[in-house]
Amino acid sequence: MSDASLPQFNIQIGNDLTWNVQPILHEIRHALRKLLETGESSIIDLRSIPLAPGEEETIIDTLGCGEVHAKLNALGPSEIYETRFTGVWLITHFNEESSIIGRFIEITRFPDILKSQHEDMTIALDQLEQELEHASLSDQNETEAETNT
Amino acid sequence: MTETELLTWVRGPGFQIATIIFVLGIMLRLFEILMLGRKANLAEAKGSEMSSGLRTVFSRTIPDASTFKRSAFTVTAGYIFHIGLFVVIFLFAPHILLFKDIIGFGWPALPSTVIDATAVITIITLVIVLVHRLRDPVKRFLSNFDDYLGWFVTILPLITGYIAFHRIGMSAPSLIAIHILSVELLMVVFPFTKLMHMFTLILARWYNGAISGYRGVQS
């Protein structure tokens, strides 16, 4: 089937239908002010708001890209970056099949998910210690072997 | 009965019953009136009954300046709620669909926000009209059960419609069912109350115009 035989649909996007774009942007503005004044962070779940086709893109395009860009690899990739509005972060979680499983706008100094977690650090410390122990043992063995030769 | 069953009933058998009573009642009342007939006028005519009658059907909508001044509230409030009812009933998209379903053609609708505002104005006006009826010595004196019943069944669909539109308090199917039910109540009561004036005033005005016009006066 060629493209010409398909009905041409022109679903309206952009200003004509952006009934939730402006409110969300204003919500971000309020959250940023709150962050500055009280230090309190906020999160907006973009997937819990009814958006017309293209509206999510409009919001993301409006926010743009800032200085920090991070990639996470935890149960599938996640993309985290600061928008051109400092303090406003966009967090997109993907599953292992690369479909989006969550998209959040976090208004914070630094997103929690990027911080190293206590439990993970405990495990990391354990592991490091184990590995060091293992390394020193093997070092000793090597030295011993050298001495023996 | 679940709310969907109720909604289906009011849209189905309920609406059938209401339509039968409404249409049958109106035709019955009109023919009951027309069948009584009136005697031919044997006096020599000075003007035309027909043209004067037809003119009065429309001209009586607008009062003369002094009458307007004397009955300013009645006329103004009357205008507001009658126009409001017209707009809400006939220019709301879902309602137009109903008419289209029955008569086969529709017409453009007004934005629902306009309808919403009109409904609020109409409801408020009807409430004021009731208060006025209860306080004005003449209206209070003249009013009987029929007048209050007519008022009640008129404002009820407006209120239930407003609530259904804004989904206040209950789920949408129940609210819409209640709204349709209130309209059905209006339809059932309509032919046997004052509400019949919607149709009989055409006859009444025509007769008035004809009686005057025959004598050469435009009423």
């Binding site: 599953n95 993970d120 | 059938q16 035709m27 789920s171 199917p173």
Partner: protein
């Protein structure tokens, strides 16, 4: 879905850690879960805390008069990672479509799970139950009714998945040949969560399971037993085409200018205004789209008796029956009765004229 006892005693947090899943991954999972359950992001820490301590419940899934669409929907849940985690964290002890065991072994598994978890297991039901003749639908020779009553007895709660289990669904549609009823029609003494939809949105099914898993409680329900988080608002209220409704811009046919421009589908029979579901926000196929976005009116599949609502393509404000004919007949009858009544009035008037006694000046006083 293995059923080893050692895992059953562990909390979800322990299970995940033993699988080498990092805390950061767990937080991401919790964020996705919160989003899925339509809970505010501020709930993420609470969810993390609860999930950490959650233990695997036993789940028994019974399928009665159904089309397996609900199971199909569930197994196509898009958030594959999350789903697998959820399913890893429950013990699905009986599901005759998904389980490997068959025949007597399957029934034995069910009975064993019931006995072992008496009073604690979660019962999931899809499909309606025929009351007319038990022979209409049986499993291993057991009638649906008997199996439901037997299994429900020891359940902590019941989740009715799909419109058939929740409200009777298509088997219940007129004329309802099998005498189909919903779970809540026959079970009155257990908490029942209705998750209607034909089929329900997959993440709504997992969302409800996750809620139970997370909080161990039943979510807040509406008057039809549906979780308010997913069924709290009508499709119409959350529909991105709502602004067109408010402006009075409607598609009149499926291929007119309005349809092309994506206008409101109310006139094409959209049941959005009377239907409560999460389609407009959660959407389908991994948040890709939902029927209205695809240009088709909502059928209202999450509502009771949506099959009998007077036609999928008839607007809600339209009567379900042919009113034109009714109007014509009623008008004709009205004219006939009016003429008849009017004629008796006329006769009455004539007899009054006949009874008229001439008024002379002597007749003006009593």
């Amino acid at each position: 879905m293995t059923n080893d006892l050692s895992r059953k005693d562990k909390t979800l947090g322990e299970t995940l850690r033993s699988q080498g899943i990092s805390r950061r991954s767990f937080l991401k999972f919790c964020a996705a879960t919160a989003s899925m359950m339509a809970l505010p992001p501020s709930m993420i820490p609470t969810i993390a805390n609860a999930l950490e301590k959650a233990r695997r419940p036993s789940v028994i899934w019974l399928s009665f008069q159904e089309c397996t669409g609900c199971t199909e929907s569930l197994t196509r849940a898009h958030t594959a990672t999350v789903e697998s985690l959820i399913f890893d964290s429950i013990s699905l002890d009986y599901h005759h479509t998904l389980q490997a065991a068959a025949g007597h072994a399957a029934e034995a598994a069910r009975e064993a799970a019931m006995e072992e978890n008496n009073g604690k297991y979660l019962l999931v039901v899809d499909g309606s139950i025929p009351l007319d003749n038990p022979g209409y639908s049986t499993i291993a020779g057991i009638s649906n009714y008997d199996m439901l009553m037997d299994t429900a007895r020891g359940a902590a709660a019941i989740i009715s998945v799909g419109t058939c289990a929740a409200f009777g669904g298509i088997p219940h549609a007129k004329p309802n040949p099998t005498g189909a009823v919903s779970v809540s029609d026959i079970i009155k003494d257990k908490p029942i969560i209705n998750v209607p939809g034909c089929p329900p949105i997959p993440v709504v099914i997992t969302g409800v399971l996750t809620h139970f898993l997370t909080f161990g409680t039943i979510p807040e329900l509406d008057n039809l037993g549906r979780p308010k988080t997913f069924y709290g608002q009508s499709i119409h209220d959350r529909c991105y085409r709502r602004p067109f409704y408010d402006k009075g811009l409607f598609a009149e046919t499926f291929d007119d200018e309005g349809a092309r421009l994506g206008w409101c589908l109310y006139k094409l029979g959209c049941k959005g205004p009377t239907s409560y579901n999460a389609c407009a926000t959660t959407k389908w196929n991994g948040g890709v789209s939902f029927p209205i976005e695809a240009g088709h009116p909502c059928l209202g599949c999450s509502e009771p008796d949506f099959w009998d609502g007077g036609g999928f393509y008839k607007a809600i404000s339209m009567p379900t029956e042919n009113i034109t004919k009714t109007t014509i007949y009623a008008a004709a009858a009205g004219v006939a009765v009016g003429v008849a009544v009017g004629a008796t009035g006329r006769m009455k008037k004539a007899s009054a004229s006949k009874a008229h006694q001439k008024v002379t000046i002597d007749d003006l006083e009593k």
